[in-house]
Symmetry: C2
Subunit: 672 residues, 2 copies
């Protein structure tokens, strides 16, 4: 089991690079094949590289996560009580390393190469001679595997493996991979062939072992991932009294589960691992269960901003339609995990809905989870703020949980910031895929793309002002003799999409899988123009989503908008407004807003007069203060006293960058 015997026939420089294309509808392209050239994603990758990366490297030093490896290497352990961070802080180091590694696939960096080398040496020095690696346990805090339900030992190794896979794929180097392989071999030795029948309380190892199999060709890793998945769901996980088996996705076997339950990050990581298994083994029951769970999550347990996991208690999925904006948890890592899951399902099924979901999560929740300067982060992501909360203390690490008025620099439980780092560094992988029939474009980003099709390699150049502008221009820079199909995702939010080739409109009804397909013999210089309807639109939710009944969100293209107090006129209380949805929304010209190009919206509304309600929280339906003057408590359908105001809406991802504020996405409305 030597890492240098990698058998990958086409070593794709991307997360998720299956060894076989037998179960792939779409094959991923590497970061070297999709070069992001400008625009929103490019800017984000630049600040990710220049700000988020050094910030993360500094914080894993400051918070003691790297020191834990040094202590183990030196034999100067700290007890659980003395350790400064979480017991699974190793994973923060690994995720940071993974982020730097993916970035090397985008742009070379001596600095990042040096940091990775240094970290790899520190990690290697801590690793046991037998491959075991977990600084918390190695510091003498508990026995190996004794509390796997809660210890995160395999979770940490999973992140080590993902980091190693990224590093191997972008650099070809084995120094991190060798550590990961040794750690994985330890797991194989200890758990393989059901030698032990426990599994980790926090899924992650499943995805990682499949990827390690892809890089090394060592089938035991795939088999072990399968074992861990199969062992779950029988209520046998030792939870050490922390939460119930539902929290751990251990109450129902994976193949029988019908929805997403329990801790949200665990849930989506587990499903993603199952799809990874499907991609290699082709077991239909895994894909079916994964799609079923994803469908339930997306239709009934996802906020319009892409947040999942409404409950702070257990950082967990709630029941279907339990989606109150004012008490949402919405962990950043959960939506990132949902993106990872959706990407795998997209590769497996070729259905555009998975790319839609990635777009919604990325442009809204994940983008909003980071400050405009990209050096501060939300762990839980508010969807409504009635009252400004105190700003995050600068330079301190709050415990996770409730979000303060502004984004903290780091967290005691620092899972989210490096998760953002690695996701943004690898964004290029989400743009396009190819297969024998042609090239599929999933996300609209200025890029240069080269992609293998059956008849050879093609090259495309995409230019667009998306997500501000709805025109996407794709120019063929190189083609093959044979015809092939260019497939363009028709976003779920777009009712009419126009496509023209070399200026001539083509029939562009979406295929059943959601793509606009144009098949022809392409020649260099051919230009495809897609025009998406970018007008602002009002969105309502499922009638069971009680918390936003009688309210609308505003979206424009892929962006969810919000109202934030710093933008409003004096005297406008965002807690007291009803939107006048039958009057037009005015759009400002695109302009810089907090470092991003954005279209500001001006929305007609009424500021409610609530004097009559001053001393009471409830009243009779037909005789209360809300109805004496015409009524507003039933969604505003009846009108009611108030004064006209114009509200300013901005993209949700830009909120909370100007100090503590009032903010809302959903707002009551009136008709007529």
């Amino acid at each position: 089991m030597n890492a240098s015997t990698s058998p990958a026939t086409r070593p794709t420089i991307a997360p998720v690079a299956p060894l076989t294309d037998e179960h792939l509808r779409f094959s991923p392209l590497g970061l070297d094949e999709v070069r992001i050239t400008s625009g929103f994603w490019s800017d984000w990758q630049r600040t990710n590289r220049e700000v988020t990366a050094p910030h993360s490297v500094r914080w894993i030093e400051e918070d003691g996560a790297v020191d834990a490896f040094r202590r183990v290497a030196k034999g100067t352990p700290l007890s659980a009580a003395e350790r400064p961070g979480m017991w699974f802080s190793d994973s923060d180091v690994y995720k940071t390393l993974e982020g730097l590694a993916w970035d090397l696939g985008v742009e070379p960096s001596e600095e990042f190469t040096r940091v990775i080398g240094d970290l790899a040496r520190e990690i290697a020095a801590a690793q046991g001679d037998d491959g075991y690696l977990n600084t918390f346990v190695q510091e003498g805090n508990g026995e190996r595997y004794a509390k796997l339900g809660w210890s995160h030992e395999m979770y940490c190794i999973g992140h080590l493996i993902q980091a190693a896979v990224a590093h191997k794929r972008t650099t070809g180097r084995d120094d991190v991979l060798d550590i990961a392989v040794a750690a994985a071999n330890r797991l194989v030795g200890d758990f393989g062939d059901r030698k032990r029948t426990e599994t980790d309380g926090h899924p992650e190892i499943e995805m990682a072992l499949v990827e390690l199999y892809r890089v090394t060709g060592t089938r035991e890793y795939l088999t072990l991932a399968q074992q861990f998945l199969d062992l779950r769901g029988h209520g046998e996980l030792d939870t050490n009294g922390n939460f119930d088996s539902v929290y751990y996705q251990d109450a129902t076997p994976f193949r029988e589960e019908t929805t997403t339950v329990g801790h949200a990050v665990r849930a989506v990581y587990l499903i993603a691992g199952a799809v990874d298994l499907y991609l290699e083994t082709g077991e239909d029951a895994l894909l079916e269960a994964a799609e079923r769970q994803w469908e339930s999550m997306t239709a009934t347990k996802t906020y319009v901003n892409g947040a999942i996991g409404s409950r702070v208690e257990g950082e967990a999925f709630g029941d279907s339609f339990e989606l109150p904006p004012d008490l949402v948890y919405g962990e950043t890592c959960a939506t990132i995990g949902a993106m990872m899951l959706s990407w795998r399902l997209l590769l497996a099924t070729g259905r555009s809905r998975y790319a839609d979901s990635i777009e919604r999560g990325l442009f809204n929740l994940v983008a909003a989870s980071t400050s405009a300067e990209r050096n501060a982060f939300f762990y839980a992501n508010p969807a409504q703020r009635r009252t400004p909360r105190p700003a995050a203390p600068v330079g301190e690490r709050p415990p996770r949980a409730e979000a303060p008025g502004t984004r903290p620099s780091w967290f005691v439980c620092a899972c989210c910031p490096p998760n953002i780092l690695r996701t943004v560094a690898s964004l290029g992988a989400y743009v396009a895929t190819s297969n024998s029939t042609g090239v599929q474009v999933h996300q609209y980003v200025p890029t240069r793309i080269t992609a293998p099709v059956s008849s050879g390699t093609v090259a495309l150049e995409m230019s667009t002002g998306y997500p501000v502008d709805g025109t996407v221009r794709i120019t063929v820079r190189a083609s093959t003799e044979d015809a092939w199909t260019l497939s363009l995702r028709s976003p779920d939010w777009a009712d009419t999409v126009r496509v023209a080739v070399n200026g001539e409109a083509v029939n562009a009804a979406p295929s059943p899988s959601g793509y606009l397909e144009v098949e022809r013999r392409w020649t260099e210089g051919d230009e495809v123009t897609m025009t998406l309807p970018m007008g602002p639109r009002y969105t309502v939710t499922h009638p069971q989503t009680d918390a936003v009944r009688g309210q609308v969100a505003i979206e424009r293209g892929p962006l969810v908008y919000c109202f934030e107090s710093p933008d409003q006129a004096d005297g406008v209380d965002l807690n007291r407004v009803d939107l006048l949805v039958d009057e037009p929304i005015a759009e400002d010209e695109p302009a810089d807003l907090l470092g991003s190009t954005a279209v500001v919206l001006r929305v007609p509304a009424v500021l409610r007069d609530e004097q009559a309600w001053a001393t009471t929280g409830w009243a009779p339906l037909d005789a209360g203060p809300g109805t004496q003057d015409g009524g507003t408590q039933d969604g505003g359908a009846h009108g009611g006293a108030g004064s006209r105001v114009e509200l300013v809406a901005i993209p949700y991802f830009l909120w909370a960058n100007r100090g503590p504020s009032v903010m809302r996405i959903f707002t009551p409305y009136r008709r007529g």
Copy 2:
């Protein structure tokens, strides 16, 4: 400072018995002066005595709370990790003792007397020679007062004092009181005259010290309570990294605070303590601040079922109108604390709104917090259940937090059950008061009342089928020569109340303070009949309560109703119903339901057809599945496809007694 030197001139056998009537609008009556004779409260007191009391006594043994005192007495300590319960489990013992003690004021019991004597001996044996008493610290877990922000040392002593006060008032005995006095003297010695300037992170000691002052006349206790209140609110409490100063009501000085913030139980206990101080000292700023905070809490942070504290995170008050039923926390102890606060404010101000609030909390949230059999309890109280949750494991103690599908027997953090015990045992105190002008009746309960007025003592007999029936009959059994006023609370939910004296209607407009006042020379046999409008009514909430916009609750008299799945016809999904509020609700005849007499309601509704929404959670306002067929997502105002159904509503307090279920209080509705 000998406990037997009690100076109380009129030793009222009730919680809250001020030493002076100078700052009392209404003076409390003792449990010996208000005898509950039959009906809902009487039945509850009986099961409280026969079921809840022995259940609690057994559990404080089983869960090790009493053992902690034994270990300290024997010198066989357990470490923090070894102790079976919470570090403040002493308070569970004290609250249980207090419950038994109040019950002795209702009915003598050799058994309760014996149990109290035994507990008193166990507690006394553990008390330090210097009066210090806290088993956790005495077992060697930390230094005295070293972590007052989190240690609950004074909180526990506060509960000891309340138990001792109850025991002294109902029995005249000093055995518990002597322990409490020694413990209080220890606090005076250590903290008095600002010798130390810390205070306990969990308020409770304030109320308790004022009550101990009332029983003993020792002014140092009153002064120390004042000191603890004054020290709070300057951000100086050492929180040991647990939560922020807002959580502890330590961010804003009490007299400047405008609303209820932070941990809900702490908040209401603190305000109650401040009103206790006002009742003795007359400091207007305290009463003003207390009324202001209560007003904000009641108008903007209280659920229709009387729940307060919407946030599970920190068991805390949310922002104003942050009241989603599907993620409510609503701790039982918080509403009990709000009742304690409201009672003190009622005595201080004579305003009926405080009695209204007690009625709402007691008949709904507190009644619902206990099972019909009174041997199982909710700690957090659901206001909506979309999906049945697993039943509570029988005979086990879950951690607090999320409520399972049925009520657990006990909790690791067992604060709520004995809080219910002591509250129900002392319910007689909440019925009526008197002052020089006459007698005030706040709650409508079959009782025999004797009360001092300026011209002597009067006796009343009240009979009623309330809360099922709205007729209340009060017969004068003894009076005085002089005229006096009988004041009857006009409930806030009652729009028209009729009052007759000896069969003749009298003008019964409520006074500014909310009471229907009838002044006359009463003679034995005079009969007052009050008739309350008991028809079911639809209730809407403030327009800022987003989570229930476009929904109604159903109330009947003081009872909030709910829909629960066991009562509905096959195929009726309570997640898909819209009430037809313009059609009449049918009322069944009163009948036994789960051991209580109740009126079942039959409510016309539509079962929505949501097929078109099967695969999506949101849609465009005017082109989505909800509007293609007429629309239901805007509060049902537009109608929409569906089939007619008749729903069954029951009193909320009876839910979750027939296994795990779906339940809702607020439901969408349609007009016309």
